[in-house]
Assembly symmetry: C2
Homo-oligomer: 429 residues x 2
């Protein structure tokens, strides 16, 4: 393996941190960048990571103590063009892994302010990067985190970025037609178009990872020490569906399916995310190439996922109920879905498929941190695609500091009883 | 005809002003909005309209004196969300014609600052409108000026916005795959996706006019009085190709073709622009419908246009030369191009096709205002797609005020001699 100098943008995030550790351990020289804005958004939304996470300086210094490896940490806002230019000029990276975007669909749908913030933040940061690369590191490989959500749910097979189309007797290979489902997903599509254009006119090289929904919270590196934990979101704004189901299952709460639950998406284990990024890094795009990898390993419908969590609980004699809530999103609830995901397999990806063991390990993590669960976050979605954020989306004015949950740290199991949860839910209403 | 209350956003611009007059004369109640930023950008770029234009208050008051009709003029920046909300709430429009965007591809390619400004300005303004419509005028019809440049130059026929695709035995009607060619064109594509999404989730109604390159400077209304003139750009940043050729032809300068000149695009007369907008207005999209009309009447290659201008001059015994300059853009110079443009014809559009008469009338206008021509603007493109703005793109530091061109106002013809132009060009070097 050739050692590369890699900038991980968004290193304080769920996947950014795990990726930085994975690449550092693999021997690459990692520079980690973040504005820490996600911690501020947590305060705004009244949300927090289920698993406590250390500050960036604490985490990189612990990593250094444990492994002898250095991650160079820099506080930097990607919207600051001069700072981005200086970063690229100084570091002269071989590659940049770009996670540094607002990444929640519900957050982008709260209201105009959040829609606009999401699109401007994501576009401007990426434009700043593209121009800095053109001027100071035109050979560097940009690895951009996109989303499978750019495609939407067309009634044809989803290819990896491009599609050969025959029309009126002529043929061309063209960008796959896209139908994103939120202002966040749209921001990723806007980025994709901008990056593709920059590759075409400036000869930059980029890999757009159209990623599915990630689950899990452990990679080999994160698991080395509790102080290396990466964040784990379960709330209605930042959490993803499988993580939410595991928490609901662990607490004995019903699993909340939005609408009919026939919504089908691509999913992957966080261990595969870090492996995919490394594969893209070690097999770079060619000069002038813009390529798309669909980054997921399996497709599931939401109701199939709920069933899997129920089944894993049933194996321990626990009964889990599933409730269908009115869908806060505007999306098809029964649809065709068949998305290709061959390119990363061709590069050597060894998938971790979703099994009971993973679900149980997530549930076990939840139980360990059960005192940090805010059950109100698990009840109802608090952002509606049609009307925006409902009263409960942000830090509640009447209780700016979340009440301490009174569960004895010595009680076994730490999982609060359904009755305790119900009583806490009642208190918060 | 049902009288409609219509907001024209970007009413101070080349097409916005002509459209406002056309709709006002047709009996609609017109509210005209502009931030006047274009006049500021002219100062920044050292450019100006060939035809002198009055201030907005002067123009609307003259219109009122001449016709008895009122255009309600408001100074407003579309990026100001609160002002946009108030506008929509107060006016309760039946329709909004949205021209209020940065609309120059070269301007967007000057540097990072201008790329970012273009995309943020255009996206944020349109997002502000979409949310204001959702909340205060969900039945209003948004008529958005897009561009044929969103499509790029695919090797298949270009349809109007959507394409039925058969793939692996399944079929869907999907957005046409897009490949825009500048950060400006990309901004229009981003808007298109945002608008399409807003129609889908909020039931808004929108028409996206994917317009070709507009030429000409007279409509029936603009022609009523010199004080009603609309702007006419010929420089390398704001001007379009046919207008530039007409000015070059009028001044006896060579016509400057970028590259091979096989670049083929859709074109239309400004009289057809105002007619198309009126057709869209009077035949609105349905609730929840996002539709695309390709708004042009004829296709030409750049070299064919140069030939047309040469031919029109030759009919008067004048010889015009054509020079090929290195192409400052990154684009195909020989390609297939066949774009559909049936929907506006189906609604009743009566095209004004490009003929010698039009070219001669433009040339005659140029001659009338020849003293205002800055020949340096006609020489070389000053923004390069690969490297950005060259030294000459902005107001030249050494001559912040353009020199007065000493051509006697009584000389006939007013057209400066080639020798005079050559000497002025030399002075400016």
């Amino acid at each position: 393996m050739v050692k590369k100098t890699v900038v991980v943008l968004g290193v304080d995030g769920y996947l950014g941190w795990a990726t930085a550790l994975h690449l550092s351990r693999a021997g690459h020289d990692v520079v980690g960048i973040d504005s820490l804005v996600r911690r501020r958004w947590d305060r705004e939304c009244g949300t927090q990571s289920l698993i406590p996470i250390k500050t960036m300086p604490q985490r990189v210094s612990l990593w250094n103590r444990l492994t002898g490896r250095t991650i160079r940490w820099r506080l930097l806002d990607l919207r600051d063009a001069a700072a981005v230019t200086e970063l690229v000029r100084d570091v002269q990276p071989d590659a940049l892994i770009h996670f540094a975007e607002q990444r929640s669909a519900p957050f982008s749908m709260i209201d105009l302010e959040h829609a606009s913030l999401t699109q401007v933040n994501n576009l401007v940061g990426t434009l700043n990067l593209l121009f800095a690369l053109r001027d100071y590191a035109p050979h560097a490989h940009l690895i951009k985190l996109g989303t499978m959500g750019e495609y939407g749910t067309p009634n044809i097979d989803i290819e990896e970025g491009f599609l050969t189309i025959t029309h009126n007797g002529r043929e061309d290979r063209l960008p796959f037609p896209m139908q994103p489902g939120s202002f966040y997903h749209l921001s990723k599509l806007h980025d994709s178009h901008n990056i593709q254009f920059a590759c075409r006119i400036w000869g930059l090289r980029a890999t757009d990872l159209h990623q599915g929904v990630v689950y899990g919270n452990h990679t080999d590196e994160v698991a080395m020490h509790p102080g290396l934990a990466t964040r784990f979101d379960y709330d209605a704004i930042w959490g993803t569906v499988l993580n939410r189901f595991c928490i609901q299952g662990a607490l004995g709460l019903p699993l909340t399916v939005y609408g009919k639950g026939g919504q089908t998406r691509g999913f992957l284990d966080i261990r595969d995310t870090v492996a995919c990024v490394r594969l893209a890094l070690e097999h770079p795009a060619a000069k002038g190439e813009y390529r798309v990898f669909n980054q997921f390993t399996e497709q599931f419908s939401v109701k199939a996922l709920a069933q899997k969590v129920s089944d894993a609980r049933a194996a321990h004699g626990l009964k889990t109920s599933v409730v269908h809530l009115p869908n806060p999103r505007v999306e098809r609830e029964e649809h065709y879905y068949n998305a290709k995901h061959q390119k990363l397999l061709d590069l050597g990806l060894q998938p971790h498929y979703l099994g009971d063991t993973l679900i149980e390990s997530v549930i076990e993590t939840v139980e360990r941190h059960a005192t940090r669960v805010d059950p109100v976050e698990l009840e109802q979605p608090n952002v509606d695609w049609r009307r925006g954020g409902t009263a409960g989306w942000h830090q509640r004015a009447e209780s700016p500091i979340r009440p301490v949950v009174l569960v004895s740290p010595t009680s076994k199991p730490r999982r609060p009883s359904s009755a305790a949860v119900a009583s806490r839910v009642a208190q918060r209403r």
